[in-house]
Symmetry: C2
Subunit: 204 residues, 2 copies
């Protein structure tokens, strides 16, 4: 692939992603207003100004619209983690790496009803759990570089995986509590409390 | 219900459970030998000396045989946790409460191929993840009583939930590593290493 072809390809991918983001945002409103089961692909397509045929060029089915919403979450957390100061303790760096997702949840008006809907729909909940297991793996890869290089590779991988899984478990538990309280509390504080119950965070 | 009726009921329940345990053990061998998809309910029933009709009195379907195998795991861990000395640190008590499951995994010859099969079968994996989320809840209820009574009830619930979820996440990660190594290493040591990567355990 030439440079020009590569740039064109990336541009096409970005455009595709922008359309997917728009459709997902519209679908989120429909899901929240009418329920997941009651919302059809046709309704999502119409509300998005697409024909059903075009919709299927962007999403394989209704469930993949939900999947798309959390598509990059694991990678986003991993990217944020990579940006943290290299001398920051892994658990603290992980907590800070969750800030982007926390901000997103707080700012998105449909977040609470949408996540509640995911918890209440068995197939979506199963997909969400699978996704979170993948987040942990993605995060663990970046986290491993923060652990002592003197450790054997498999020991480092185990520790990074454990830290990432435990951190995501705390994040998830805090999010559950936040949703249970209808999003009234501050999710950032719940995540702080959850993570510091397991291992100290400064200032907690 | 009179006392006699209650005892009879419990006895019936115990017998039912004993049959289910036997069928599950036989099914585990068939699954491991021939694969999950390729094993039919008829084969499980025949190998167990039951008619398919009788099989369905004990299990709703093939998947529920798998579910049965981990039916009491969460409650078993919670029971073990309740038995730990009351002054033991929650994280340490949690680690010790995993010992029963670890022993079971180590002693059961079909454990490694069976769990690998669950990971490799999307519907079973989804069920497993759902189950583990339930374990955390069951464990958290017992763990809460180990946290300072001076804490507000919802703060205590959050901390217990975070500890339980993080502990189960470490257990699960260690189990994954153990399976990836074909069960050759010591799972107990992997769980120790995973949990102590997140928060210190004595002697690690």
């Amino acid at each position: 692939m030439t440079d020009v072809e590569q740039r064109r390809c990336t541009l096409r991918e970005r455009k595709r992603r922008a359309v997917q983001d728009d459709v997902a945002a519209i679908a989120a409103e429909l899901f929240v207003a009418n329920g997941y089961e009651a919302t059809t692909v046709e309704q999502i397509a119409t509300a998005s100004g697409l024909s059903p045929r075009t919709f299927f060029r962007y999403f394989a089915n209704k469930e993949s619209v939900i999947t798309h919403m959390f598509e990059t979450t694991g990678a986003d957390i991993a990217d944020a983690l990579a940006e943290r100061p290299s001398d920051e303790e892994p658990w603290i760096a992980l907590r800070r790496a969750f800030d982007g997702l926390i901000r997103q949840l707080t700012e998105q008006p449909t977040a609470v009803p949408l996540i509640r809907m995911i918890y209440d729909t068995p197939t979506l909940y199963a997909g969400q759990l699978r996704k979170q297991a993948q987040w942990s793996e993605t995060i663990a890869k970046v986290l491993a570089s923060r652990l002592p290089q003197s450790l054997a590779a498999d020991e480092r991988r185990l520790r990074a995986g454990a830290l990432a899984s435990a951190g995501v478990a705390c994040l998830e538990y805090a999010r559950l509590e936040w949703i249970a309280g209808s999003g009234k509390g501050e999710i950032a504080k719940l995540v702080d409390a959850a993570m510091s119950a397991v291992s100290p965070l400064p200032g907690q």
